[in-house]
């Protein structure tokens, strides 16, 4: 099973995983890694490496990072040379939920790409959709 590490500043990763678990139940082979002030780049890389190791079962690991260019994303990228990783940055809740269900269906690289597209499609102006829906003739 492809492992998942949600990596973020502050408590975002922990809370996102907790929230996803509330919705679909506990997530297998999923862990988090957080960067707090006072931590060095080296220590963060070591923490990420350890997190990846806990969920790696031979199919690779998908790191879902909060912010492109942020330390969780950048330090994960620094591990790409030595570990079987893909890094998706800009993770949102729809991506995490979908990652959990899609990961048994495709290899790592395809999973990352699919989730990136899925995540973007799932950012909608719901109030606009509502207006459109309300204007449809009754069906």
């Amino acid at each position: 099973m492809i492992g998942i590490v949600v990596a973020s500043h502050g408590k975002l990763a922990d809370e996102m995983v907790a929230t996803a678990s509330q919705i679909v139940g506990p997530l297998a082979a999923t862990t988090t890694c957080s960067v707090q002030p006072g931590i060095s780049a080296d220590q963060l890389r070591a923490d990420l490496k350890a997190a990846v190791a806990t969920v790696e079962t031979g199919d690779g690991v998908l790191v879902l990072a909060d912010l492109f260019g942020g330390s969780p994303c950048t330090q994960s990228l620094n591990l790409c040379g030595s570990l079987n990783l893909e890094v998706l940055s800009g993770v949102n809740l729809p991506i995490l939920l979908k990652a959990n269900s899609l990961r048994s269906q495709m290899p790592l690289a395809q999973l990352a790409k699919t989730l990136a597209e899925y995540g973007q499609r799932n950012i909608t102006v719901a109030s606009e959709l509502l207006k459109a829906e309300q204007q449809r003739p009754l069906h």
């Binding site: 931590i39 963060l44 260019g69 942020g70 330090q75 990228l77 620094n78 790409c80 040379g81």
Partner: protein
């Protein structure tokens, strides 16, 4: 023109890109760091994080062209990983700019000055010397945070 020298153990990352770059309106980041300069993967990861339109130079501390960056018209942010690199950079021609800290990690022998900056006694002495040499020191992780001066170290 070098507008700010920042000491940040994580070099190019979220706070620098999202908060400092727009605040300072820089067109160039000069990263003077031996580790980054010799690690192609690290460089690639850092470069891609920076928005298009901002130039990124990554060189070892003793090869950085501080004088060139100071002399041309491009607003430049200098990034150094550690306090001890600042004195080295000054010897290489880094002008006396404001000195911002940044992120300095916790560790043995280091005392917390702010949430993000942990300094050894030697580093506090170095900073005092740098300030006496014309670089006003401020502890400020992001521009909207209230900056603290050297008095925050108790020195």
């Amino acid at each position: 023109m070098i507008v700010l020298t920042r000491v940040d153990n994580r070099l190019i990352h979220g706070q620098v890109i999202e908060a400092w770059l727009p605040h300072l309106a820089v067109g160039r980041i000069l990263v003077a760091d031996d580790e980054a300069a010799h690690n192609a993967l690290m460089q690639a990861a850092m470069r891609m994080a920076v928005p298009a339109g901002v130039k990124v130079d990554i060189t070892p501390v003793d090869k950085a062209d501080f004088k060139g960056a100071a002399a041309d018209g491009v607003r430049t942010l200098v990034l150094l990983r550690e306090v001890k690199s600042v004195a080295q950079a000054r010897e290489r021609g880094l002008p006396a700019t404001p000195l911002n800290l940044g992120n300095v990690h916790a560790g043995a022998g280091r005392k917390a000055v702010t949430r993000a900056v942990f300094l050894s006694d030697e580093e506090v002495r170095d900073l005092k010397q740098l300030q006496d040499g014309g670089m006003p020191v401020s502890f400020q992780a992001v521009p909207l945070e209230k900056p603290l001066g050297l008095e925050a170290t108790g020195a």
